[in-house]
Symmetry: C2
Subunit: 297 residues, 2 copies
Amino acid sequence: MALYSEKMQAYQSLIEESLPKYLPATDTPWATTARAMAYACEGGGKRLRPVLMMAFADLCGGDAKSVLPFACALEMIHSSSLVHDDLPCMDNSPLRRGKPSVHVEFGEDMALLAGDSLLNRAYEVMLDPASAPEIPVDARLRAAFVIAQATGIDGMMGGQTMDLESEHKRIDAETLETLQRGKTAALLRAACAAGAILAGADDARVAAASDYGETLGLCFQIVDDLLDVTATAEQLGKPVGLDAGHDKATYVTLLGLTAAREMADRREQEAQRALDAFGEAAEELRRLTEQLLSRTC
Amino acid sequence: MALYSEKMQAYQSLIEESLPKYLPATDTPWATTARAMAYACEGGGKRLRPVLMMAFADLCGGDAKSVLPFACALEMIHSSSLVHDDLPCMDNSPLRRGKPSVHVEFGEDMALLAGDSLLNRAYEVMLDPASAPEIPVDARLRAAFVIAQATGIDGMMGGQTMDLESEHKRIDAETLETLQRGKTAALLRAACAAGAILAGADDARVAAASDYGETLGLCFQIVDDLLDVTATAEQLGKPVGLDAGHDKATYVTLLGLTAAREMADRREQEAQRALDAFGEAAEELRRLTEQLLSRTC
């Protein structure tokens, strides 16, 4: 069964088509970094964050297509974080989605610059007066601000800091949740909130979108932790038991399998409840949530 | 003789005072990165970019103080680029302004995150609706866009790419100028242009501010190259002949001492001419330009 509905598959295709348009030209004297930026954004997984942004724009009565510049910008921020995460001084990962990491392909210096340039490019795209001109400037500014806060030190980057500092250390479940709220949930929260904001939703709906994204992000991480111990390597397409091997705290090592499963269920119900604010129209998102959280790989 | 007039010294003090207010709290679980960000912004040189932004806001009839959030944001972008430039995979500099570089003091991983977080923080500050609320939203958006473009791959980051790729390679004077237009001149250009934009200047004045900043940046670099061969180590407070030792193309190695001097003079006249658009009121900036470009250290 496909993860996305037809409508969401169409969003995903639009994102794949549009991303290259927002990336820099590669016929410049700084082509190496520009090519590394494109490489980092290629063939990239589910595109969950931009798809969610478009879905929430649609859900709030906006035109999903009109938020494409912001959706692509958010995907660039996500890609930028992966490029820097893979660097030798961070996770030192030679592979990303089965391909050589950016620093393996282009060198560490170009990977550093490509990550910086992708992060910055996201703001160039969001701030460009030619991007989404049909959306009022106040909404654009507010959406960009929500994304900036979720990305920065009090969001994703704070979570990355905690992640690095918590290796080989005993942390409790509360600390792990704070870490994940930044590292994984912040950008998902911003994706949903920005979609609603750009569609002109009222504060209650923006808050519901925001809650949904954050809870989904937290739940996502618990499911990941569960799969790391319960799935087979064949199902996951990557080695299992990686977290335990890395001496990394997970919801499973901290709470045990049963309690971690219960927590995932609780979070899923919470995410579904957040969708109540959107009534019947959220049916597709309800199904997506279910599928995302019941995955076995 | 002090570099800055009393008015500009007051700008500099305001920037020193204000910067910490725009940096993140350090009583969080991600304090290490937050402390590294503050360290990177401490005791930092002339603060030329934010001072110029304030000077141009004033020159265009605006309130210099009102642009402080943008001035501090630009300084954060500059600091971010220095943190990443110093990393082992880039210039591998253990020292910055006589102090251990951020990665020496906080580790490479935290330096990487501090650079990312400072760059992103600049946008958090510029996009915050509470920043400079007295300035119309369109002007804020336009100034932030100008700064984003100057920072990114088609600006400073493109120049950094060329700089890395031109080491141990023969490049011509035209290529060196393209490199410096990005690496050094782009942020100075954006500083002056943003000051004018935020003060509500007309297009002609924004263009003149922009030209001034860019020409100053290009000239600055030629003077740097000249000093590297003509100054004594005592005057510079750092070893001389570094560029030649690094097998790096400079205006002096490419053009010779006499032609490089002539080029610096020509650029200085160009920068001064750009100030003509502002009449008598630009007298302080004229003197600053003269001092900046006649420095012997």
